[in-house]
Symmetry: C2
Subunit: 444 residues, 2 copies
């Protein structure tokens, strides 16, 4: 058995104020089992795979679907096979804890396994199964950590189900409002959905956890963007999770016959929607920085080739780490929308449908990830997360950090989503190193 401190010896000692020692020649460095990780991810992929498809065809494993249920059962079996006892909370989240001294808060790490429809095999899956690997690596290396180490599978992360993103970690962080359990989606009540996961909607408040429950939270995730892949850097240290303002925009014009209404007399909602779409792009693109703006959804009425569209409903979102930047983008768009409405004879109404404030990660965890990567001679790059993650909810309860690995071509939410097995292994080992690094600190 090696001590926790001996593991830390390979971290860049100069950056640390704690004593370090060289690895003993007898004890191999603790490491995750890359072959087992790959095998589990390949088996997980069969839950929700298109009929007749292969791993390359991705998955549809929407939260609460049959595929989600069987995948969770698979995960529970794998946890049990590691001689750890899984626990399901009232929201359906699966926790499994190992080791540590009594009365010490646990170090939490994990991700999710639900997917978007026609999603990929790495988004969430990698971080969840790597968390189990971390526990098994610690077990295998017979390391006795000071803090319990605890993995988590968040029950419902993607916004597909009930239109809510990171729904299960939100509850844990305390977001629970009257009527939440009565919301319906696809004819299913949210309370019934949670029951499918062996959660307990009648005592849902027991899932809420207070500040101080955990020592810290770390999530390994694929980048879902192309920055690391293009730069050929294997490890991303997330500086923060961007904030988001999402609007439902309704444009009202006048539907009329496409053959008989002169160009000058039209109040064409599609023309106004087109102008607004280009305004979103231009406003996001013309400013220095990494902010983004997207129109991802549109419906027009009556949506017939021979009728001038009388109504358009579209989604608009802006994202950035900085809330003031997002507000400036909003203001610029609304100003431009007034001009467009005037020019096209339409009305344009904005309703804020979703808002998240950007969440910075904890600098102490950023440093721990850097040390863990450095110990493995892996290059790192600090970057923001453009996507939302459960980590941003848990940041309300304890110090939080995220590790990114490259997405080939920056593709995600698609069957083409790909992270190489070597990068998966590197990411999981950096997660392991980070957890052990954090274990050496009483506070981050």
């Amino acid at each position: 058995m090696i001590s926790r401190r001996s593991f830390l010896s390979l971290a860049s000692a100069s950056a640390l104020a704690i004593p370090t020692r060289a690895w003993s020649r007898q004890s191999p460095r603790p490491a995750i089992n890359a072959a087992r990780l790959r095998n589990r991810l390949e088996r997980l992929s069969t839950h929700g795979r298109p009929a007749g498809g292969t791993f390359a065809d991705g998955v549809s494993r929407v939260a609460y679907s049959v595929a989600d249920l069987t995948a969770r059962a698979f995960m529970i079996d794998e946890i049990k096979s590691a001689d750890i006892v899984p626990r399901i909370d009232a929201a359906g989240n699966i926790f499994a804890r190992y080791g540590g001294q009594p009365n010490q808060p646990a170090i939490l790490f994990g991700s999710h396994i639900d997917s978007v429809p026609n999603g990929g095999n790495f988004d969430g899956d990698l971080g969840t199964f790597s968390a189990l690997e971390v526990i098994q690596a610690v077990q295998a290396a017979k390391i006795q950590t000071k803090h319990p180490i605890e993995m988590v599978l968040w029950a419902h992360e993607e916004s597909t189900a009930f239109g809510i993103m990171t729904a299960a970690s939100r509850i844990v962080a305390g977001d629970l409002q009257a009527g939440d359990m009565d919301r319906t989606w696809n004819g299913m009540k949210r309370s019934d959905a949670i029951k499918r996961l062996a959660g307990n909607p009648d005592q849902i408040e027991t899932a809420i956890r207070g500040k101080g429950t955990w020592h810290s939270y770390v999530e390994l995730h694929i980048e879902q963007g192309g920055t690391l892949d293009q730069a050929r850097v294997p490890i991303g240290i997330v500086e923060g999770i961007v904030g988001l303002h999402r609007y439902e925009v309704v444009i009202e014009g006048v539907a009329n016959h496409a053959g008989t209404t002169p160009m000058g007399e039209r109040k064409d909602a599609m023309v106004a929607a087109a102008q607004l779409t280009l305004a979103v792009r231009d406003i996001a693109a013309r400013r220095q920085g990494r902010q983004v703006g997207t129109v991802g959804q549109i419906a027009i009425e009556p949506n017939s080739p021979n009728v001038i569209p009388g109504k358009a409903t579209l989604s608009v979102e802006f994202r950035d780490l900085s809330e003031p930047v997002i507000r400036a983008l909003d203001d610029a768009l609304k100003t431009r929308a007034s001009e467009i409405a005037k020019e096209t004879g339409t009305t344009i109404a904005f309703t804020l449908s979703s808002a998240n404030v950007g969440v910075p990660t904890t600098s102490g965890i950023q440093a721990a990830i850097g040390r863990a990567a450095s110990a493995l001679s892996l290059q790192t790059r600090v970057l923001p997360s453009g996507a939302g993650h459960d980590a941003q909810q848990i940041a309300r309860l304890c110090p939080m950090g995220m590790i990114f690995v490259p997405s080939v071509g920056g593709v995600s939410h698609s069957p083409k989503e790909l992270t190489t097995w070597d990068d998966c292994e590197r990411g999981a080992n950096v997660l392991l190193g980070t957890v052990l690094d954090l274990d050496a600190r009483d506070s981050v």
Copy 2:
């Protein structure tokens, strides 16, 4: 009984090379029964009216629907009540003929009663029931026409059903291809649809009529545009029915995460679709003339607020009386589309989904309409029809003309479609006068 020639006495004699006489003081001018016309249109409106609605709520009377069937039965009853025998051809068109000398070709006039979903009470309906009024007015005035006068209710005019416009008059004009009867729409085979109308799909070719079948064809219709309403002119003389090129345009980009993909790395199909939509408008609007261009339909994939659209499918159409003008618009758009594709990193493919060559109306019928309006002291304006009509199909068989009446606010294909009852009466009387004017001529 008055003679046909005596009726013509009020037409502008100077424009005619035929003898004219003043109306005899004893014989009232033949006229349609405006109260009956209104009453019939109001009763027709109940077939397809929204539950609990009124006349102002419009109709959904899509071809082959139950509402269409019961409305046709109502029309057949009204025809029979005028002591005329209706005949249904193999395509489901309803004809009813009155008077005339043996071996003379009939003068045909009529329209349709099928509607778009959520359509109005005048598009087609007015021309169809005015046709019955014309026959009844001739009966009432005991006029013996030289040519049989024949009304028609075209079975299927709107493009809603099977995606085909003026489907039933196309068959009469000879458009019939192998497999047409096997097309399906909403799970219904076209042959079965036609059987619902008491048509005979097994002998569908018997519906085809040759050149020379009719002396001429006249259709009264609402303008469906705002020209007459704005100019406060009660009668439009249609100079031609515009041609149309309609494309299905498919734009392929790359779907990707809306939060993680920098603006400069996107291949956003919605942005390309927006640029194309504005190009259609600009290309149609910047040129002198009455050409129009419309994007009336769009679908994007995956159509999710947090995913950059990877694919957009949209309809584009250009209309004008002149085929060379339409071709020039097409060319300009395709040139611009190449630039848009290059700029956005997308591919843009055009498939011609529908094309109609513009059809001029017969100048002799334009003149007859002018004389009939003048006899009633009604102002006229010559204008194109931006919409397609059964008249453009029948123009292949005989001289053709169209009479327009004002659409309030230019609105059509909407429950708000409105033509005042006074304008309905004026239009029907001009149709009557035109038919009697044409009856005086062996050829137009």
